[in-house]
């Protein structure tokens, strides 16, 4: 697992459009996007490597770029913040209880004044369910990645800084977890842990930590070779102090950027479990189980405006959130100059 890659791999040219392989979450609810085995990562990176200016210059560039964040970034941030507010405030918004059944809405459940997005076949307000559904997605998305960052981040720092046996062991362990397609691993752990909100958070965290571990480890290794770290070492600074320095200056931006993308991945992962009927059990509304419900009702020939709304509303909700957070992640990465091929 030779990860001490040539300095200045990857870089600016990828930002112009390439490099999605590690950049965007969503596709396949899987590791396909967020990194993989070193051989591939190395392959990806080296295949397109160019000799690039040193990192110092990149930092200066990054500072400039902070000011150059496009309006798109702020729109995306707005969307994410809006969803966070919705999730927090769903209880006080003027919407129905998501599990409440309106019997007048059972028969004709197309969108109307009383139910802006119509009702599901069970007579529950689709708008309310979509808004409340954000809670499950967001709680699991953020909480699981928070756990993943704490666990993966600490282990990654230790492994990346001290190398040696601890690195070997953690490398093998993370490798083993990454040897499963992530949705398969998720399904397996669900049989073990269970399906409550907390359980699913834990499941996603277990799936996610090896990826975050790798990101942080690679960033730590790279950072540990920088001049000022080597100098500090030579001067006999304590490891804890060096780790703190490394952590603050180099690793945190990486962790935050990939954490954001991780949140999108986690939400897609939860959505997939929900869609398969194996996440938080009904009647709790989740975007995934609503999409599954909508999918069922459109496949029946007697589908109507109601079933369209039932499929499209949660789909658009989820898509808007993932797109926004991916976009944020993508922009942030170019601004913070987090390398594409870092894992």
């Amino acid at each position: 697992m030779a990860d001490e890659r040539d300095p200045g791999l990857a870089g600016d040219d990828l930002r112009s459009g390439g490099g999605v392989e590690v950049g965007v979450a969503g596709y396949g609810a899987s590791t396909a996007v967020l990194g993989q085995e070193p051989p591939e990562a190395r392959g990806v990176a080296t295949a397109r490597g160019r000799a690039l200016p040193a990192a110092d210059r990149a930092t200066a560039v990054a500072r400039r770029r902070w000011r150059q964040l496009s309006w798109g970034f702020w729109v995306a941030t707005g969307v994410v913040v809006l969803w966070i507010l919705v999730a927090l405030l769903a209880g006080v918004l003027p919407i129905d209880n998501p599990n409440n059944i309106d019997f007048s809405c059972l028969a004709s459940s197309s969108p109307s004044g009383a139910h802006l997005l119509g009702c599901d076949p069970a007579g529950r307000d689709t708008l309310a369910r979509v808004l409340y559904g954000s809670r499950v997605s967001l709680i699991i998305g953020f909480a699981s990645i928070a756990i993943g960052i704490v666990v993966g981040g600490v282990l990654g720092l230790l492994a990346g800084y001290f190398r040696g046996a601890i690195d070997e062991v953690l490398g093998v362990v993370s490798n083993v977890f990454l040897s499963f397609p992530s949705l398969v691993l998720g399904l397996v752990i669900v049989t073990y842990i269970g399906r409550s909100l907390f359980d699913i958070t834990l499941v996603i965290a277990i799936v996610a930590w090896p990826l975050l571990f790798r990101v942080v480890r690679a960033a730590t290794i790279e950072s540990a070779q920088r001049d000022y770290v080597l100098a500090a070492k030579a001067l006999g600074a304590r490891p804890s102090r060096i780790l703190r320095t490394v952590l603050l200056s180099d690793v945190v931006p990486v962790a935050i950027t990939y954490g954001l993308i991780g949140v999108a991945l986690a939400i897609v992962g939860e959505g997939a479990l929900s869609f398969l009927g194996l996440s938080v059990p009904p009647p709790t509304a989740t975007w995934g189980n609503m999409i599954a419900e909508g999918a069922n009702s459109v496949s029946s020939v007697a589908s109507s405006g109601a079933s369209l709304s039932l499929l499209l509303s949660p789909s658009i909700a989820m898509f808007s959130f993932i797109l926004a957070i991916n976009f944020m992640g993508d922009r942030l990465r170019s601004v913070l100059d987090v390398r594409q091929g870092v894992i």
Binding site: N99, N100, I101, F103, L106, D120, P121, A122, G123, R124, G277, P281, P282, P283, E293, N296, S297, S299, S300, V301, A302
Partner: protein
């Protein structure tokens, strides 16, 4: 409807979309529900068949006769019938099967009346079964309805091959031969060329070359598959879907609501009478008073179904008035209050378990509203179809949304209602009075006495309240127009057999017009 017009056509294949997959095909070991009974009828023959008027006549058996006191039953199978594997279906095979049923941990539960060692082969094709007590409606158990798995005679050769062999590769004498089973995908059978039955024209039965069951758990997908002709027949008891079927003129459909034999399926809230909360009769009474049957059957049941006050809804011959507590919110509130008062002021918080279909979700939310109005706190727990039975068995529930009890004779519910069989009495209501009445129903030869006994059971249930009755459940079987004669089973000796009860049909005499 569902009766073939004109001369039957030989050949062709039919696919039936079922509501669930089966857990196995070994009649001593699997538990056959509506789907399972159809699987079994394709590959096995039951010893008897029940006619439309409720009489039970021999089918695979040539005769089924009790002695005068109904304590010794003699069963003789028809001559020269062979299993699909060539084994002769004779007295020895019959005895082998009956012994297996008796020693099975599952079916043995139902055979508590049998005398130990009371099974004897008395002729080349005959056995006798000796009972501890008279068992009058025993023949009904041999007609192969739900619970009556001991009707299905299987090849001893196959059974001897090992524990799971018959369960996954069934071999019987039935109209179709097992070909291929991929659970969750399909259960495929081909025509048995040596089947013993002929139709009135002298055609060798069955008519079809092959038959496939395809479990499609999601009911809207099942209906869509029927409409796009991916499948030819399906069954469902999902009321919104029944309305959709009615509205589709390209389909032929039938319901089981004209049934006059035995009892139909009912929808009800099954209570765990041993759960810490629900063992208090006040809460069970409150649950019954809080339940607005009329509204429920109208809104959730789409007016297809109607309220019932016990396990024998109209037009069952066992129907009667019962003291079942009807909807009375004030009484429900008072009872919950009284319970709350004597339990430290905390409202009772119960779980309501149901499946994860749309209709189940609607129904559960409605029930939740009703119970909350009475002062209960209700947690809804939705489980997958596959988890259902084990959740009920393990007893970790308060109230379970349940559907059961369709049968040709109330005696077949003996194991579910008496305290004799342990965990299969899912509601865990162990009442000696019900036990006694069920025994009277089983042992009496006098029809009015039997009817009275079962009516007493229904009345007692209205007091014990192990079941919060909702509605009589209606099943619908729907098919494309090419599929003929699926509602017209006949007895080998003439006479039209009962069909449709609980969504169960016979594959034997189905044919497909060109």
């Amino acid at each position: 409807m569902g009766v073939g017009k004109g001369k039957p056509v030989m050949g062709g294949s039919v696919t039936f979309g079922t509501e669930a997959e089966e857990s196995g095909m070994d009649p001593t070991n699997a538990h056959f529900d509506s789907t399972g009974v159809m699987y079994a009828r394709a590959v096995y023959d039951p010893l008897a068949i029940v006619l439309q008027d409720g009489t039970v006549v021999p089918y695979l058996a040539e005769s089924i006769t009790p002695n005068s006191s109904y304590t010794l039953w003699t069963i003789t199978v028809r001559p020269n019938i062979v299993f699909h594997d060539g084994t002769l279906c004779d007295g020895a095979a019959l005895k082998y099967c009956m012994e297996a049923f008796y020693s099975s941990l599952l079916t043995g539960n139902s055979l508590t009346y049998w005398k130990k060692g009371g099974l004897k082969q008395v002729g080349p094709r005959s056995i006798t079964v000796e009972m501890e007590h008279p068992w009058v409606p025993f023949a009904a158990w041999l007609a192969g309805y739900i619970g009556g798995q001991i009707a299905y005679i299987f090849s001893p050769t196959q059974m001897r091959k090992g524990e799971a062999v018959l369960n996954s590769h069934p071999v019987g004498t039935g109209p179709f031969v097992y070909q291929d089973w991929v659970p969750g995908s399909h259960f495929s059978l081909t025509r048995n060329p040596h089947y013993w039955r002929k139709d009135t024209y002298g055609n060798q039965l069955p008519y079809l070359d092959s038959w496939t069951f395809k479990p499609i758990v999601d009911v809207s997908t099942r209906l869509a598959a029927l409409q796009s002709q991916e499948i030819d027949l399906m069954h469902t008891d999902d009321d919104p879907t029944i309305l959709e079927v009615d509205a589709d003129s390209s389909l032929v459909s039938l319901r089981d609501d004209e049934l006059l034999v035995g009892e139909p399926d009912c929808d009800f809230g099954m209570i765990n009478c041993q759960s810490p909360l629900m063992k208090d009769i006040r809460l069970r009474q409150a649950a019954a008073y809080a339940f607005n049957q009329a509204e429920y059957c109208k809104l959730i049941g789409k007016n297809i179904v109607y309220p019932t006050n016990g396990p024998f809804p109209h037009p069952s011959p066992y129907a009667s008035a019962t003291p079942y507590p009807g909807y009375d919110l004030a009484k429900a509130k008072a009872l919950v209050n009284s319970w709350t008062h004597s339990n430290g002021g905390k409202a009772p918080s119960i779980t309501y378990t149901t499946t994860n279909s749309t209709t189940a979700a609607t129904s559960a939310a409605f029930v939740q509203q009703l119970y909350q109005a009475a002062g209960f706190q209700v947690q809804i727990k939705q489980v997958q179809q596959a988890e259902l039975i084990n959740d009920a068995l393990l007893g970790g529930y308060d109230v379970f949304s349940w559907r059961q009890f369709a049968n040709i004779d109330p005696d077949l519910n003996y194991v579910f209602w008496t305290s004799a069989a342990g965990p299969i009495n899912f509601a865990r209501n162990y009442d000696p009075y019900i036990d006694a009445q069920m025994n009277i129903g089983r042992q009496s030869t006098d029809t009015p006495t039997r009817v009275q006994a079962y009516q007493n059971v229904a009345k007692q249930m209205a007091k014990d309240l192990p079941y919060i009755w909702a509605c009589r459940d209606v099943w619908c079987v729907a098919g494309s127009k090419q599929v003929q004669n699926w509602n017209n089973p006949t007895s080998p000796t003439g006479g039209r057999g009962l069909s449709m009860l609980s969504g169960i049909i016979w594959p034997t005499e189905v044919w497909k017009s060109a």
